[in-house]
Symmetry: C2
DNA sequence: CTGAAAGCGCTTACAG
DNA sequence: CTGAAAGCGCTTACAG
């Protein structure tokens, strides 16, 4: 190591000069830092990883980017992880596909942990990660076995809240546009929605599959809106699809929203907040979810936490103008400028 | 190395079994692979990096994610880099900030290259990367010194094309909403736009700054639209701002687009294509730009390319309905279903 | 506080 | 085709 020579000290001293909290005198540290600057030296994080067997790298797998919810989540996650001195190794393009071959690649890089955004993994793989001691956190998904940590909102309750709201709005004909059928979020949202409707005696809910995509949702909407019994309320498994449905309803069917059709989404992401859409939707609080995921990941890396935890972040129905607002609901709303953002707490 | 013992071979043999193209007999390779599977062995990419001094990691720095152009670009870049066996170390949150302290962090991880999306870097830093032999590619930005490779569209020409189109549409009062003033793209788009207008005797173009943000553009729009001389054409330095302007114009000022106001953007990204906006805009072809950036990066890593190259990808004006279409323009348009997507080539 | 030495898990000439 | 040996750039007990 040239820097050691230049500064006239040992390699150990150089190492300690760059390790916060290591025992070096101010004198030698100064000398070393000066030599390092002169030589353009920077510690090699790769070599450090090899010896410490800690890479300070977390792999983040993102399903896809079209839905603004994911870039937002990734951005929040990134700033939190970086703040703790962790780097992100990014993988993308795995929407509810088993990402096993990918995960094998990831493990070669000796990552300290893996965060999966809307991506599933096989139980064999989660077992392997467990045996290797590599923590895994699922965001916006759960596994059937609950054997890896997860961060979600209360999707079942969310589905119920949407049903409540639409029922109170005196809608008559309900439809659901599904995401990918094997995703836990889709399953839970649908189950909550349908259960509440059924409990009110409504069994006949039409359904179409949009697979969380723009075009898929557009097709689904076309199909539902040409039904002999056209729905007057459509609940979409995410915002991205809900926006697509609004586009189709307005521009292809000439419908007025919410007069002719109410549309409700899930996420409160991106364009849902824009005036052109002003979507009524179940929020998924990005900051809280990212923060919970980062925190779980870090405490698992530090072995402060060794069993899987399942965090359900509280969320609320954000009432805007894409769905008819029940009369009695109005009276509960405040008259502040924040009016449009009024929340209906999920905890009630 | 346990696998070597298990398979009864040397460490070298194991290494060769996992190196494509290395000289091992089928027999020993089989034996090794079997032993590896039994032990759950995977080569350690970190150790490999250390000895080969190639990490097969490319750092990607993304300015921000609100503008759908960036997630799209990142996704394309990711799939191309992964296809070539490279991993991505992600950094985000650096919109036209000097990212120097960050870059110092990046270099500790011995990345094989750095791709910057809409992020600037100091000339000292680019010099340092050059001396270290770490290739840098700028996407959607150029540097004043042209000392690092870049991939952009022809922003100056784009600005001119927009001016042409708006002039042909017989607009009278023009405005420009700027991005961050120090970004090369903003500078070039504005310069092209203004030059063409000036050449037609129009010197009085009002201007406001949106800094590429939603709220910034909304404020800029409010200011411009309350001017005593309200513009009938606004050119925005990107789509994200243009969408915000449309929201403000329609919902706060009750304007009809394009009857009362024409809005033109830049990127052809995300919601610009949705029917609710149907934005006329200069495209920036994401796939082509990502592909060019990946290609330059790879050939620089392989030292096939050692001087900076500046790729300008061809792009076109995408004519939709957010800006008044000149009469004579109509006659040139095809009657196909692709009509709405008709391009006006930049090369003419 | 400081240094010499061992070792992290690989790859790669060099011999055979 | 195969193995023994050296070495990549660090960290970390262990002595002093």
């Amino acid at each position: 190591m040239e820097v050691a020579l230049e500064a006239g000290v040992s390699q150990s001293a150089v190492s300690r000069a760059f390790t916060p909290g290591a025992s070096v005198s101010e004198d030698t540290r100064k000398k070393i830092l000066k030599a390092a600057k002169a030589l353009g030296y920077r510690p090699n994080a790769i070599a450090r990883s090899l010896i410490t067997s800690k890479s300070r790298i977390v792999a983040v797998v993102v399903a896809y980017f079209n839905n603004q919810f994911y870039p937002d989540l990734l951005g929040e996650l990134s700033s939190r992880l970086h703040a703790q001195g962790y780097q992100i190794l990014l993988f993308t393009g795995f929407l509810d596909k088993d990402s096993d071959d990918l995960l094998s690649q990831i493990l070669q890089y000796q990552v300290d942990g893996i965060i999966l955004l809307s991506t599933s993994l096989s139980s064999e793989f989660s077992a392997e990660c467990a045996s290797l001691g590599v923590p895994v956190v699922l965001v916006n998904r759960t596994t059937a076995q609950d054997d890896v940590s997860s961060v979600t909102s209360d999707n079942f309750r969310g589905g119920e809240l949407v049903a409540n709201f639409l029922l109170a709005g005196k809608h008559k004909t309900f439809a659901y546009i599904a995401g990918t059928p094997n995703s836990s979020t889709n399953r839970d949202r649908e189950a909550g929605f349908l259960r509440r409707l059924r409990s009110q005696g409504i069994k006949d809910v039409s359904k179409a599959r949009g697979n969380y995509t723009w075009e898929g949702a557009a097709q689904a909407a076309r199909q539902l809106l040409t039904n002999r019994k056209r729905p007057d309320a459509i609940f979409c498994a995410n915002d991205h699809m809900a926006l697509s449905v609004m586009d189709v309803a307005r521009f292809e069917f000439g419908l007025k929203i919410p007069r002719d059709l109410s549309v409700v989404g899930y996420d409160d992401a991106g364009a849902a907040r824009w005036r052109s859409f002003d979507l009524t939707t179940m929020e998924q609080p990005v900051k809280e979810m990212a923060s919970a995921a980062a925190q779980i990941m870090l405490s698992q890396i530090k072995r402060e936490l060794t069993t899987p935890v399942h965090t359900i972040v509280p969320s609320a129905l954000i009432i805007r103008s894409s769905a008819r607002v029940p009369d009695n609901w109005e009276s509960r709303r405040e008259k502040s400028p924040e009016d449009r953002r009024r929340r209906e707490p999920a905890q009630n």
